[in-house]
Amino acid sequence: MHNKTLAELSLGLQAKTFSSVELTQCFLDRINQHQQLNAYITVTTELAMAQAKAADQRIANGTADLLTGIPIAQKDIFCTQGVVTTCGSKMLANFSAPYNATVVDKFYLAGAVMLGKLNMDEFAMGSSNETSYFGAVRNPWNINSVPGGSSGGSAAAVSARLAASATGTDTGGSIRQPAALCGITGLKPTYGRVSRYGMIAYASSLDQGGPMTRSAEDAAIMLQAMAGFDEKDSTSVDVPVPDYRANLNKSLAGLKIGLPKEFFGEGLDENVAATLATAIDEYRRLGAEIIDISMPNLKLAIPAYYVIAPAECSANLSRFDGVRYGYRCDNPTDLTDLYTRSRGEAFGKEVKRRILMGTYALSTGYYDAYYLKAQKIRRLISEDFKAALASVDVIMGPVTPSTAFGIGEKMDDPIAMYLSDIYTIAINLAGVPAMSIPAGFVAGMPVGLQLIGDYFSEDRLLNIAHQYQQVTDWHNFIPTGFE
């Protein structure tokens, strides 16, 4: 059961081949068996079983939705009423939100079952899931490797079949990078496509929620449930949501694929490059035309990102002050002590580093040189994407410079860690949608291919990904021990 795709599970449930209760129990058992991955922070057994029963009722009534009864899991960044939402931090270890994120509500409405809350880098700041207060997540393909981050729990859970699919969020690569490192499909939608309401903010102008799934078709099903304008999020965009599965089978004949030379230069592992070349060849066989392009400002993405994201996070995380909720230090002597010790004791090293960087970048005398300059670069990068996507249908490239690195390998070298997002960050700065799809293996570890499209072209990206998955089976490989 656990190896079925969402579409297959939906058919099975409708045909009553198995019930949602049986299916949910199956996933709960697997979660229990594979605790060594540390993919979940909270497992909501009782809630899941209650939702499964309600789903079976709905299926019996004939009022079921496509996702009714399907067990999924939420990245622990989405607020869930009555269930602890930690955001991977000691600060919120005991925080239970009095409301649901819009995304969570949408899945509840569709009748999906929530298995639990998935591990993540603290406040989504990290590329390896090692900054989580709840411990590192392990990569199902090699438990000594990182699963990537920040949605590391989501990627590991989907890869290891501990959830039929999962949500993630992507600020600089946090869906695509772990999807690539764990061999699953991840989609970061256009900024504004999925509501951010109830999704704990890291960098508001870059954060975007999206699906992490086993296949492109599953991603289409998940995105269908997640996408849409939300009046509670002023930055969500009021454009119609297409039927994401309608064009999956469209032919790719004549598709123009752009390959930016900046994506294939120094720093890219040669085995990864060779794997990607094979994948591009596959697209050529599907009728695509390959065009070499250049995006000269891509190299500026990392420095711009590491000004803008920390600047926004420095303000976004100010609300965690020990006054109203979350962690409060013992016996504060006065207000300053309450602030400094509550924040000092509850935030991890990487979170503190980014708050400090952001505070510095916004300070009087530095604002113009850092924040404003970074915003200018951001505009240049957006222009690069617009120009490129005016001449090609999709841009392809690597997701990560190499396959999953070892746990602990880059923790003492933040710059090396930041560089692992070198191919993903520019996409968030531009706000365009992008996917990571499994494209092969190097020494037994998965490699992801990145597809980048124009604004609101998710349906096109899903079509391009799906067609590839019709002629390849990289997305069907299961890590050993998780069959």
């Binding site: 409301y99 704990i200 903010a201 002023s234 303000a315 100010s318 916004l362 604002y367």
Partner: protein
């Protein structure tokens, strides 16, 4: 040395929207602590602000009223600082791109009209309140006020004494109430003022170093706080000292200002555009619509009242102090058909006195314009005298009946029947021979005695003009 004072005011007006600027929670004053703060106001993780359109409308209409530039593009920014009653650790305000640009307001002091520049006005959210009493040495936080919309109106340093500052503040207070964008309640903090005060030797062009006096919530205190601060700065300078740039707090009990924090201790607010909110775009069509909705403004109304109704300065000032009172006057004038002066006298006299006594505003008056008009109409057509009208007014105040019903019920109709008046007068002349003698021998004052006697005998209902006429004939 002769000194010149320079004053600029920053006025925080609380906009009278029903809900908060970025959430759906109510803005009503005086609720139990923390009962009017929703997830957004509490700054819970994951919540997002959504701009209240009504706050934008109010800001734009204010901009129109001061003939300011309305920004076609304005931006909300985060002002970062930590304080327990600031739930998010930043206040959403506007910095580089305020919604209202340069405008002006004309004030009048001692008969001289002076134009005061308005630098800008921007939208922002209010913080909550820290309560230091009743918590056994701890501090309580009430977040009901958090997220209440404010329009911060910043003047140019154009005022040269406390009187001008008060005149400006009063003028603005009147204006925002006219526009219906602020209830003006200063006790509840709906209209608060920070004053930037400096002094310089008369004739010097450069400004002196200023001190900012925070949170002054009455006209009286503004005048006192500024005068005190000016004296303090002059004394300091004349004794060879220097004014330091700082924030000071006015203590109304001790009537002094004292230092809160110096420039060095000031926060670096690290403003940057709020990524949760889109820029506010105001197009020409919206501006045209706001212009059409702009009510008659106080200055125009005063001028019209003077010319159209021929009223004296004092009556005009009272009647136009609020739009509601001016509307009331105009309704009574129209409905009663009485001359403006009579209407004005009743409204500024008996009605205002009764309202003051009861602590009521004109909009809560027990006698609405319809019922007062009914009373004045009966004075106008001679049915009752002014004296009887005062009795009827009392009864109008206490009941819901109309003036006509009261007059009929109490039999208060004025008697103009000459026969009845003649009979009474003849009887009084017969009963008071001594007084008649005195009058006839030249003591004119005795005439009032006879008028009084007639009125007394007729319970005040006799038509005074008729009484005078007949008395003169008979005596």
């Amino acid at each position: 040395m002769e000194w010149e004072t320079v004053i600029g005011l920053e006025i925080h007006t609380q906009l009278s929207t029903r809900s908060k600027i970025f959430s759906g929670a109510a803005t009503a004053y005086g609720a139990e602590p923390n009962t009017q703060a929703c997830a957004v106001d509490l700054g819970l993780p994951g919540v997002l602000p959504v701009l209240n359109q009504e706050a934008v409308r109010m800001a734009v209409i204010f901009g129109m009223a001061i003939e300011a530039n309305i920004a076609p593009y304005s931006v909300f920014a985060r002002k970062n600082y930590f304080y327990p009653d600031l739930p998010k650790g930043y206040q959403i305000s506007q910095m580089d791109h305020p919604i209202v640009g340069v405008g002006h307001l004309d004030i009048e002091v001692d008969g001289v009209i002076k134009r005061i520049g308005v630098t800008r006005a921007h939208l922002e959210e209010d913080a909550g309140k820290s309560l230091h009493e009743d918590f056994h040495g701890l501090t309580g936080i009430d977040l009901n006020r958090a997220g209440t919309p404010l329009l911060e109106i910043v003047s140019e340093p154009d005022m040269r004494n406390a009187k001008e500052a008060v005149a400006y503040m009063r003028k603005l207070h009147e204006l925002v109430r006219y526009l219906g964008i602020c209830d003006g309640n200063m006790q509840e903090g709906s209209f608060r003022c920070d004053a930037n005060v400096s002094v310089r030797p008369k004739g010097q062009i450069e400004f002196g170093t200023r001190a900012e006096i925070k949170n002054i919530n009455s006209f009286k205190f503004v005048e006192k706080a500024i005068n005190h601060e000016v004296e303090r700065q002059i004394a300091l300078l004349e004794n060879g000292g220097k004014v330091v740039q700082e924030t000071r707090l006015y203590d109304s009990v001790k009537d002094e200002t004292r230092s809160m924090r110096s420039k060095e201790e000031a926060n670096d607010y690290r403003y940057f555009p709020d990524p949760d909110l889109l820029p506010v775009i105001i197009d020409e069509a919206f501006k045209a619509q706001m212009k059409a909705e702009l009510p008659e403004l106080p200055d125009a109304k005063k001028q019209r009242f003077k010319v159209d109704y021929q009223l004296d300065e004092e009556s005009v000032a009272i009647l136009t102090a609020s739009r509601a009172l001016a509307d009331y006057f105009e309704a009574v004038n129209k409905k009663s058909g009485c001359e403006a002066k009579l209407c004005a006298n009743w409204i500024t006299g008996d009605l205002s006195a009764a309202l003051n006594k009861a602590g009521l505003d004109i909009i809560a008056s027990p006698i609405n314009d319809e019922r007062l008009s009914g009373l004045l109409a009966r004075i106008g057509d001679g049915t009752i005298s002014g004296k009887i009208a005062k009795q009827v007014f009392e009864l109008l105040w206490q009941s819901a009946a109309s003036a006509d019903d009261i007059i009929a019920e109490q039999g208060l109709t004025q008697i103009s029947d000459t026969g009845a008046i003649v009979a009474i007068i003849d009887k009084i002349i017969a009963d008071n021979p001594n007084q008649v003698e005195q009058y006839r021998s030249g003591k004119d004052k005795m005439f009032a005695f006879f008028v009084g006697q007639v009125m007394k005998a007729m319970q005040g209902k006799a038509n005074p003009a008729e009484v005078n006429k007949i008395l003169k004939e008979r005596l």
